[in-house]
Symmetry: C2
Subunit: 409 residues, 2 copies
């Protein structure tokens, strides 16, 4: 778990606010779910699989109820929709907040990390999957990251597994091994598949199929594929060469049922966002058990921050625009400070009676771009001295002039 | 623990964003601390007292470390400043996030609730206390709530307790009883004080003193009071009759050392914000144990929301501005939708191929103010039909006209 000092928190808040802005442009509304959930919800059938569940923090309240800290947010969304069947569908919502995993601490992996999820609940059409991917392209273009979105489909994966002659019971296991292709290579995956009792020729057939790069090349093998049909429809709504089909993409989580995607930046190891379609998860929280289709994506705030912090080198450690420095009259200074604030200028004021040079060095250390010196000679002229902290240039101005100057910028 | 459906979350986000905006206007920067803290930090001497500690959620990680969920945020701030002695003082920071208490569930009390804290670390002058109170006045005037801020001083309380002849060891206990004055009345407090072994004439003397309404009336009894001196300086910086001295205000937390204040709205039981000066808390997290003065306030998002939701009756359940309804061409609709979004208009689009009347009823149920109907006749004229969902008025416009119309509003 980490603290975020202002130098990092300012940038995090900017990214969060840009995500919020983008989500809302695409017709999503904010939803809040608690960080502490009942254990029964977190450990539900579709909650993400045993590997993740092992890493969940567990606790009990004083009434002895079994609770846990959420380790992802899709389960909470599914529970929310299940408990509120009156909600008109499609329900388009976003959630931004921390999740927790009690895993081994290593570089780039944190126990508290923030996810920013968008989900469309109640739309079966590939138009919804495309909406999520278009939103993703839009957000990353706004922060100037030239990402790639790798796309596949769980139905197609199952069809390829079947075509390779692997039987149904081993399908999910085979898909989970495929997920490690980038990490452990063809050899590694082959070894795992053999270890899971899959015959060598079947494993090789699967590996050959997922190595094809074009949708048409896979399609030629599987003429009546449901997965191919969905992917073709999906790509008909997407007109962007950053979105790439890759039949080997598998995704670790158990709950996906259709389209899956991951967002990558060249030269950066982990994905920046990932998600997919999960048509069978929400129903389990409904009394009727009726299936409710859903598709979403989760943006990882930590990897996005890691990329941006590396690019920007030095992060801003204050949002303050001007520091007011009193030479004599504190009361007059307080009045001027309040006037600037009423005009919308982010203003700080000396609260400890430092000398002028200590005040200037304080402004410098917080990278505050302007200092406003309020001295007796200036006040006699009904003026104040505005100092540009970068150039050192000073101007004698009325308070109205100062306000005008900030408005222009 | 509760979910916040969009109808509530939209308003919560607005309030949070206004708090952020106000904090930043006053020269504060954002700080993030984790929700899970080491138990050792949460249970530290100044962490808030045994009553609150009893209500903390406790857990362990897989390495057996003792952890807890934070139950307030001042302790985390103090730990952060202690661990980062290089930070230039005064350090002005704000934190916004949830805290947790495993207390009995009752009306208006939640186990997860949000606090919005601002603190000034490293300024001993009453100017800092006044800065916090001015910021508080400013925020509540922005949300049109005519609050009162009740102010007292812990030094004065101790002096009054001593003047009443109550010995030092019982001072904090006496102050904690005083805190219940509004709840249990003079009789009730007197009974508690007697129960704590304080003689009747001393308890009565204390109760008489704290019933005085004017600073001068208390001052006449305590000519060399440090508390009075601080309060006089504090009030010299405040020019607002919403800020009222009350010598009976005590505050429950153990860590306050000087000014204390609570924010009330007439007719609403709980305080909307509260805080004070705590000059002895941060030092314990420093190796040097040197004292670092600090003052802050915590805004309670839950009581503020309760007041606002009551005022507004019906909360907005969507921020979406327009729903695009395709009659025939999905592709053309998608293009128009993307154009509106690029122009900054919050736009949703039919994803499920509903009929026009189902689409209009969907827009109504989410209170989306406009629908944009894209039909073959309109497209032939290179136009679309914009429908005002409140008046029912429809206009045939080009997409550029639609964008202009939204820009004007």
């Amino acid at each position: 778990m980490r603290d975020f000092p202002p130098g990092e928190k300012i940038l995090r808040d900017e990214i969060i606010s840009l995500l919020k802005r983008t989500f809302e442009l695409y017709g999503f509304n904010p939803l809040g779910t608690p960080i502490v959930e009942r254990w029964e919800v977190l450990s539900s059938k579709y909650g993400g699989g045993a590997d993740i569940l092992k890493e969940a923090f567990r606790l009990r309240d004083q009434g002895g109820r079994e609770l846990g800290l959420r380790y992802e947010m899709t389960t909470s969304l599914a529970r929310f929709v299940g408990m509120n069947p009156q909600i008109k569908k499609p329900f388009k919502a976003y959630q931004i907040g921390p999740v927790y995993r009690d895993g081994p601490v290593k570089r780039g992996r944190y126990r508290e990390f923030w996810q920013c999820d968008v989900d469309i609940v109640g739309a079966r059409s590939m138009l919804a999957d495309a909406e999520i991917v278009n939103l993703t392209l839009d957000f990353f273009s706004r922060i100037n990251l030239e990402i790639k979105i790798i796309v596949n489909n769980r139905k197609l994966l199952k069809e390829m597994v079947a075509k390779a002659g692997i039987n149904k019971e081993k399908a999910l296991e085979a898909i989970i091994s495929l997920d490690k292709l980038a990490k452990i290579g063809q050899e590694g995956v082959l070894k795992e598949l053999l270890g899971k009792g899959i015959a060598k020729e079947k494993a090789s057939a699967l590996l050959e199929m997922v190595s094809r790069k074009k949708l048409s090349a896979v399609a030629s093998e599987l003429p009546h594929s449901e997965g191919i049909k969905e992917l073709e429809e999906f790509f008909s709504y997407i007109d962007n060469n950053q979105v790439i089909f890759d039949p080997s993409l598998a995704r670790g989580l158990a709950y996906y049922t259709g389209t899956i995607y991951e967002v990558y930046l060249e030269g950066f190891g982990s994905s920046l966002a990932a998600g997919g379609r999960y048509d069978e998860m929400i129903g389990q929280f409904l009394e009727s058990k009726e299936q409710i289709p859903a598709v979403g994506i989760s943006f990882g705030l930590e990897p996005i921050m890691d990329v941006l912090l590396e690019q920007r080198k030095q992060a801003k450690n204050s949002v303050t625009q001007v520091l007011v420095i009193p030479i004599q009259s504190t009361a007059e200074c307080q009045r001027i400070t309040q006037r600037l604030r009423r005009a919308g200028i982010k203003t700080d004021m000396d609260l400890v009676g430092r000398g002028i040079s200590a005040n200037l060095s304080y402004a410098n250390s917080y990278q505050i771009p302007y200092a406003l010196i309020v001295g007796p000679e200036e006040l006699e002229l009904s003026k104040v001295k505005l100092r540009d902290m970068i150039t050192g240039k000073e101007e004698l101005l009325t308070v109205e002039d100062v306000i005008e100057k900030f408005k222009e910028r």
